[in-house]
């Protein structure tokens, strides 16, 4: 609590005009929205009445009026080239998920939170951005990280167990994969705010899960982004569970997308297993954010097909029948059916895509299957820009210990050789 002295007359004057300015700003925003979208500010911020879905689970393109779009919530269908490229990433993403799960079973990876079933979200989150834009992923978003161009093995290093991360965030503008839930959302806000101050024309997309929307940082991030009017897309993969806890225990809001309006930003719901709809919604969101429309919250309705990680036993808290239901909504089969029916995908193309996926899987097997050598001195190398005297002392202690161990083992082997 700040206990401040009485405001001076001057300060009171200043705060009055601030308040007046804020009202002006809202009026201006409302006018802008009406001019651009023909709807009220509130209707713009509230999600459409239904989720946006373009291709149904059977792989059929839905009629325009059945896609869930409304005036002001209209989404152009992405072009053929974009869809084909996205489909390729989708197939690669699935292969990567399954390869990694196999590597975990073989003890080659410490842990892997698979996005199996959520690959359409992963691919769309990466592909809607252009060069220079930033992505802020979680532990479950390794496929999105890879789809942004990060080397697959580097993207998985965090799970290999030899270091906490494997890539340079600056190289591809991809933040570290964050485990403390929703902490990364505020980093995304910060990058966007700095970009605004520096005059950089970028959009930032930040990811989190449904359970994570309960954390305080989620709410702080949304509010900051709205108050500073920043080009940040908050992309929530609602996969229905936070480990064992179903969505109904997290939120009783009409939808997670509805949380947006409370902060003064727009929200939208989309079928998270429909890659076409995802790209449509995110492409437009990124475009609007780039044009200065402020932040956007997108909730993707999807499902975590496997356990939370390999260490989890999902049978303790959900029925197999539920999983089976979602099997029928798989993002890959519906996309394949749709593209084939459009004559965009033939066997030849399919084979090439499968080959690409195999190539990436092999890269992972080779990169993660080998025993990586670790350097114990790395413990001390990166704590600060320059190690402190205390760290230098500790590093010397460890070096001495290892040298003594080595000579002892050497002596033992000599002994054994005699």
């Amino acid at each position: 609590m700040t206990i401040s002295a009485d405001h001076t007359a001057h300060e009171r004057e200043a705060s009055r005009s601030d308040a007046a300015e804020a009202v002006d700003e809202l009026v201006k925003q409302a006018e802008e929205v009406r001019r651009k979208f023909g709807i009220s500010l509130e209707d713009y911020m509230l999600p459409a009445h239904h989720q946006i879905q373009m291709v149904d689970p059977a792989g059929r393109m839905k009629a325009k009026e059945e896609q869930g779009t409304e005036p002001g919530h209209e989404y152009p269908t992405p072009g053929d080239d974009e869809l084909l490229a996205a489909y390729e990433q989708l197939v690669v993403g699935r292969r990567v998920n399954d390869q990694n799960s196999a590597l975990v079973r073989q003890g080659r990876m410490a842990v892997y939170p698979s996005s199996h079933g959520q690959e359409a979200c992963q691919v769309a989150a990466a592909m809607c951005l252009r060069e220079g834009d930033w992505l802020f992923p979680t532990y479950r978003d390794a496929v999105a990280v890879m789809s942004r161009g990060v080397d697959p093995v580097q993207a998985m290093t965090i799970f290999r167990g030899d270091w906490h991360g494997g890539y340079d965030p600056h190289e591809h503008h991809v933040g570290i994969q964050c485990t403390p839930l929703t902490t990364q959302l505020l980093h995304a806000v910060g990058v966007a705010h700095a970009a605004k101050l520096r005059g950089e024309d970028i959009v930032v997309l930040a990811m989190c899960g449904d359970g994570a929307t309960s954390e305080g940082d989620f709410h702080e991030a949304l509010n900051f982004a709205a108050v500073f009017h920043l080009p940040v897309i908050f992309f929530v993969q609602n996969n229905k569970y936070a480990i064992s806890v179903p969505l109904s225990h997290q939120s009783v809001a009409p939808s997670l997308a509805h949380k947006a309006v409370g902060y003064g930003m727009a929200g939208e719901r989309v079928d998270g297993n429909d890659l076409v709809a995802l790209l449509a919604v995110l492409d437009r969101g990124v475009k609007l954010a780039r044009e200065g429309s402020g932040p956007l919250l997108v909730e993707a309705n999807t499902y975590r097909m496997q356990a939370h990680t390999n260490a989890d036993d999902a049978t303790r808290y959900r029925p197999d029948s539920e999983v089976a239901e979602w099997m029928a909504k798989d993002p890959i089969s519906r996309m394949k059916t749709y593209l084939t029916s459009q004559g965009l995908l033939d066997e030849d193309r399919e084979a090439k895509i499968a080959e690409h996926a195999e190539q990436v899987a092999m890269q992972l097997r080779e990169g993660l299957g080998v025993d990586v050598s670790v350097d114990p001195q790395d413990l001390f190398s990166f704590v600060f820009s320059k190690p402190t005297p205390q760290l230098r002392e500790q590093s010397a202690l460890l070096a001495d210990e290892l040298a003594r161990d080595a000579s002892a083992t050497g002596a033992n082997t000599e002994e054994a050789g005699k």
């Binding site: 480990i243 064992s244 808290y317 704590v383």
Partner: protein, 367 residues
């Protein structure tokens, strides 16, 4: 408390005290066959279950503690037995969990809450430091907060980042928080019951690498001991092994390592006493000082970073109280002052038997 005694009406959420007592009896009968091998996780689970049976104001809540029974299964079966009003999942927000526990404690409840992992308690830091620790002092004792915050902590399980921190020093440094950490199965039961009985808030640090360690335990005897009101662990360290030449002082996950070091030293003809601190706050100066005065030499061991830590505090207290009895400076074996490393590097970080023996060798035996 075995979930097998649950009936479907109990699982519905509303369970009468009588039903709960009957369930307890059934379970007690099943367990009344003298000492049996149980894990630390089971001992903690039983402590909560017994406390819930005896006192309807004891509640358990947190992330994944209900249906799943906790990611370490420490709350397994509690929802099934006591219903969703007594053991329940909250929305995923640690600050919310602790803040709500404060309000519930102000209104007659005794919350036992779980932070899923050491590092995931940090979002709750403000509620813990600014309110849990200070409420009693601020209100001149008018508001008591009988809250237990259970924190699985420490490494050695090949966990990825944020799953292996030793965070005890943050809490111990904060005035107004008791900090307990059991290292044996029996202490797990006793100390958690005492923590739940405590009218002051307790940060209950559970060494996660010891969750599956087993001991022969007579639960009925422990229950009887608790019923008699014997507070054998409250604020007291334990002498985990008697010795004469030097004292190893440690707690939580490092206790088995220190015992192994003492066993190895014994083979080399050196007799080491091992003190298990158990209660970091309040700290048992008496037991530690008595041992160090007897042996004249001491090594303090902990997984946490050494700098500005519980281990530094212990060393300071020993030299304040035992200076004239010391034959050598008190040494420490701790984690390095670096972020907890990735699984393939943790072995270089953790206190090991060899490192402890090295420290013992350096206690100026020649002078």
């Amino acid at each position: 408390m075995s979930p097998t005694v649950t009936t479907s009406s109990e699982a519905n959420g509303n369970v009468s005290a009588a039903t709960a007592r009957a369930a307890a009896k059934a379970a007690a009968v099943a367990e009344a066959s003298g000492p049996q091998a149980i894990t630390l996780a089971k001992a903690l689970n039983t402590a909560m279950s017994d406390a819930m049976q005896e006192d309807p104001t004891v509640l358990v809540f947190g992330e994944d503690v209900g249906t799943l029974g906790g990611v370490f299964r420490v709350t397994d079966g509690l929802t099934a037995t006591f219903g969703e009003k007594r053991c329940f999942d909250t929305p995923l927000a640690e600050s919310g969990i602790v803040g709500m526990a404060i309000g519930m404690a102000m209104n007659g409840m005794r919350p036992v809450i779980e932070m899923q992992f050491d590092a995931f308690a940090y979002p709750a830091f403000e509620q813990i430091i600014s309110h849990v620790a200070k409420m009693h002092n601020r209100t001149r004792g008018r508001v008591k907060l009988p809250i237990v915050i259970r924190v699985p902590y420490g490494g050695g399980i090949g966990g990825v980042e944020h799953h292996c921190d030793s965070s005890e020093s943050y809490y111990a440094h904060t005035a107004g928080l008791k900090v307990f950490t059991p290292a044996t199965v029996v202490d797990g039961y006793r100390m958690l019951r005492e923590a739940i009985d405590s009218d002051d808030p307790v940060i209950f640090m559970e060494p996660k690498k010891l969750y599956w360690s087993k001991d022969q335990v007579d639960l009925e005897a422990l229950r009887a001991e608790h019923a008699r009101g014997e507070k054998s662990t409250a604020g007291r360290a334990a002498v985990a092994r008697l010795g004469t030449d030097a004292t190893l002082i440690t707690y939580g996950p490092s206790v088995p390592t220190a015992l192994a070091a003492a066993a190895a030293a014994a083979e080399e003809g050196r007799s080491l006493e091992v003190i298990d601190v158990r209660s970091i706050v309040p700290f048992d100066d008496e037991t530690v000082s008595a041992s160090v005065r007897k042996t004249g030499r001491a090594v303090v061991i902990a997984e946490a970073h050494g700098f500005a830590s519980v281990s530094s505090e212990i060393v300071a207290r020993i030299q304040e109280r035992c200076f004239h009895y010391l034959a050598a400076p008190v040494l420490r074996v701790t984690g390095f002052d670096v972020p907890y490393p990735a699984p393939k590097l943790e072995h270089y970080y953790l206190p090991s038997v060899d490192r402890i023996l090295d420290a013992v060798d350096n206690l100026q035996w020649e002078d």
